[in-house]
């Protein structure tokens, strides 16, 4: 049966660039990027230590690979992991669009289903294309705090990755021979040496992506790759400064946490939740505030008593799951000194509770390696000044390599529990 006129006919698609070599090359460039984003995503889940206390944001019982005791060293571990996850994801967008453009005729293949194998392959492609777009859209909107949907972002983004990675694995497996053939026939790099004048279509065979009736070229293949690379470079430039900091911060013109969320002064660096949003009022944090610590014994400490203890100062990053991070100079009491004061049992985990009356992240549990690190602080001051209310006054947790939302602000109690 002849295809109806329109995109179902091969002759509808005329770009001379489309063909097995282009799709192979774009796919080979995109694959490592999505694998890096996937791996850092699973590591991000591990960094929350979902096995401890009520840390888990995912329902119990699911498959969660890469789970291990998240270390407190190197201090930049979480900042770099999240920076890579978010920045590489954003930078991969133009490459993803180009890859999808190169295979656009496939959606309209005629006949829509040739046989059972073709049908099952197309079904898994729904998971592949739907899954990858879902992951990119939900991740990118999440870092901009925009939630136009009615599902739980964390759970959906996590299991969306399973949909995409399952579909990707089978896709790569069945396309590997096609890729090898395309590169063997045309050369891996040879088509990049061809300028616009000499650019031509790849030979058309029935069912191939190369067009039967190509139009005259308006850009070379290397030109197209340069186009994609410049769009990626542009995104990198306006994004990476929110994670890398330093002089690049000024260039992060469109990143959610670029220069525009920085104020002057020692407390001028960004926050992830205001005290007002968390319903933490000055009344809760005033002179009546006491820190409750409990291990073998219970004690209450005022802020003055905490300040009278030995103070330690460290430059540590605070890093958000959404990819931004900033290193500041924190000072306060070491958590290991407070553990000794409370008579904490050996190898205990630390449960931290906030004054914040509600919310999933009002409590966090830290593993032994995390709270016993010499740089793990109950911070009272930052950059030589008292913490501001928005940064967690009267006291907050700062632990190297700990996810920002577990660096609990407005700490009310610390409880060491034998694990």
């Amino acid at each position: 049966m002849r295809a109806p006129p329109g995109p179902t006919r091969e002759s509808f698609w005329r770009s001379p660039l489309r063909g097995p070599w282009l799709t192979t090359t774009l796919g080979a460039l995109l694959l490592p990027l999505v694998l890096v984003v996937g791996a850092t995503g699973f590591l991000s889940n591990a960094a929350y230590q979902p096995g401890l206390g009520r840390n888990a944001l995912l329902p119990a019982g699911g498959v969660q690979p890469l789970r291990f005791g998240w270390p407190a060293s190197p201090a930049w571990l979480y900042a770099v992991n999240q920076g890579i996850h978010v920045t590489v994801g954003i930078v991969a967008v133009p490459l993803l669009l180009a890859k999808l453009w190169s295979v656009a005729p496939r959606l309209f293949t005629w006949p829509p289903v040739r046989d059972a194998a073709h049908a099952i392959e197309r079904l898994s492609l729904v998971g592949l294309v739907g899954g990858v777009i879902f992951e990119f859209v939900t991740g990118i909107l999440n870092v901009q705090l925009y939630y136009p949907w009615h599902f739980n972002f964390v759970v959906a983004h996590y299991y969306g990755a399973w949909v995409f990675l399952a579909a990707l694995t089978i896709h790569v497996a069945i396309k590997l021979p096609v890729m090898v053939r395309a590169w063997r026939e045309r050369g891996v790099l040879a088509p990049l040496r061809v300028d616009l004048e000499r650019t031509g279509a790849e030979p058309h065979e029935p069912g191939s992506l190369a067009p039967p009736t190509p139009a005259a070229p308006t850009i070379s293949r290397r030109g197209l790759l340069a186009l994609v690379a410049s769009a990626s470079a542009g995104l990198l430039l306006v994004t990476v400064g929110q994670s890398a900091g330093g002089p690049l911060r000024r260039l992060a013109l469109l990143a959610p946490r670029g220069q525009s969320v920085f104020d002057d002064g020692p407390n001028g660096f960004p926050i992830n939740k205001t005290a007002a949003t968390a319903r933490v009022t000055p009344a809760l944090t005033g002179p009546g505030w006491r820190l409750a610590i409990a291990g073998g014994e219970r004690r209450e400490l005022s802020r003055a008593q905490l300040l009278a203890m030995e103070q330690h100062e460290h430059d540590l990053p605070i890093a958000c799951v959404e990819g931004w991070s900033t290193t500041q100079r924190w000072s306060g009491v070491r958590l290991r000194d407070l553990a000794a004061l409370a008579g904490a049992p050996a190898g205990a985990v630390l449960q931290v509770e906030s004054l914040q009356p509600r919310g999933a992240l009002r409590r966090a549990t830290l593993g032994h390696a995390q709270h016993s690190d010499g740089r793990a602080l109950l911070a009272l001051r930052v950059n030589g000044a008292d913490l501001s209310l928005d940064h967690g006054y009267p006291a907050r947790i700062i632990v190297p390599a700990l996810p920002g939302v577990h660096c609990t602000k407005w700490v009310a109690s610390l409880t060491w529990v034998a694990s």
Partner: protein, 161 residues
Amino acid sequence: MIARARRHYGASPWHLVGHVLALAIMVYAVSRVLDPRFSRGLNVLVWLVGGAIVHDLVLVPAYSALDGVARRVTRRRAPRAVPAINHLRFPAAISGAMLLVYFPLILTRADGNYVRSTGHHVTGFATRWLTITAGLFLASGLLYLVRVRASRARAPRPPSR
């Protein structure tokens, strides 16, 4: 018999086994999210399939149509030696990618959440994007003029008609 099954199915048995496994993982993953605690109705499924549909049936035709218009316009006006179309494509692609990724900030779609989270209003993103876009088109246009002049200086004068 395997050969007949293979003809009937259309590919090797491994093709079938691999796809059944992959689809089983996908169904399992989606079922975890379809839990009413995490998704209102089938909302997550709508987004999962809807994204691909919007991309293939809206985004691709839209930018292809824009590119077609740009091709027709530049073909009529540009000297052949220096194709103008790519001097539009480059700034458009860079600026378009930024808009596609950062539209919620550029178009201020979630100021309330932004204030609750950062303590700041969403400000300046639209201005910065427009400035970047203008700068890109300007730079690309200037580069085009330079290239046209260079090609005119190089080329022999066209025979007068």
